[in-house]
Amino acid sequence: MSDPMRIRAQAAGGNATIRVLMSHEMESGQRKDGNGKIIPAWHIQDVTASLNGKPVMTAEWGPAVSKNPFLQFTIKGAKAGDKVAITWKDNRGESRTDEAAVT
């Protein structure tokens, strides 16, 4: 069970700036363990965002995105009180959704 994301959604000028911190190893698949074996890649592949239930953003990530990823983007037409939900899905099929209200 993964740790929750930290989502900040700030309304400004008719839009909302979304800043997300996700808790994920983002193992690149380039590292080797003590025995010289490659540690398999384990990373978020898909990120989606929705505003009040409507999908507004989709992204695909490779293993080069940093550990405990940070993402910032802006949703148009969002106002205080709107609900922003962020979902990630990784290459192991695990997934997580967290929500925050626009302030």
Partner: protein, 283 residues
Amino acid sequence: MSCLNSQATAMMCPRGMTARIQIALTVTLFAWAGAAMAQKSSADSIAEYRTMLQDGNPADLFEAKGEDLWKQKRGPKNASLEQCDLGKGPGVVKGAWVELPRYFADTGRVQDMESRLLTCMQTLQGFNAEALAKTPFGKDEQNNVTAIATWISAESKGMTFNLSQSHVEERKMYEVGKRLFYLRGGSHDFACATCHAQDDKRIRLQDLPNLTKQPGAANGFGAWPAYRVSNGQMWGMQLRLNDCYRQQRFPYPLFGSEATIALGVYMGVNGKGGDATAPAIKR
């Protein structure tokens, strides 16, 4: 004033100066300026990089986890840590960190944040403090200790360091800390002071704060717990000191040992009046 020594422009030189010397001075001036600009630019670039990382510090993730753990009923006694006394009374967390390490009457000793947290986890929740201290960093309950420590420090973010030296034990620990700070040993004859007792020192591009006085003391001491991007780990002061000793080729100190607490007293008292910036983000 000799024009040959002056860094001022050649225009300040008296008339009669030959054109050749004027050109030489100008060229030197530009060379110096160029070098100075190039150096400034590197340091500026690094500063810019660090600023870019401030927003969205992954330490937030540990902070959130730590707050949950503080409030959660856990351990053999199935109790939360909400009655833990960090020095300002049971349950008072805001402002507690900037007064640690300090003397605690109930344990009869000076304690830092992490060792005090272990005391609370034992007395309130029934965990075995000794077993916790022996748990390696990054494993099991140690991760929880780190997360809670991150949150505790965040509750003092932006406040000013104000460690007490009113108790005799606190003053004693300051002196012990100072001695330890300057103690040279290990295979390389290093002391903390080797790297941290002078201004403007660095290892490669990593600045080394002068921990013997302000502003270095608060800058250095006040930044941990910190998220280290190089390994994606959250490090409390206990782990930071442990790793310092590893780098000095010393034996590792025990978690929450008197030595580590004494060093905390030394740094924290030296940092009096400085701002607490933890949890910070580090290379």
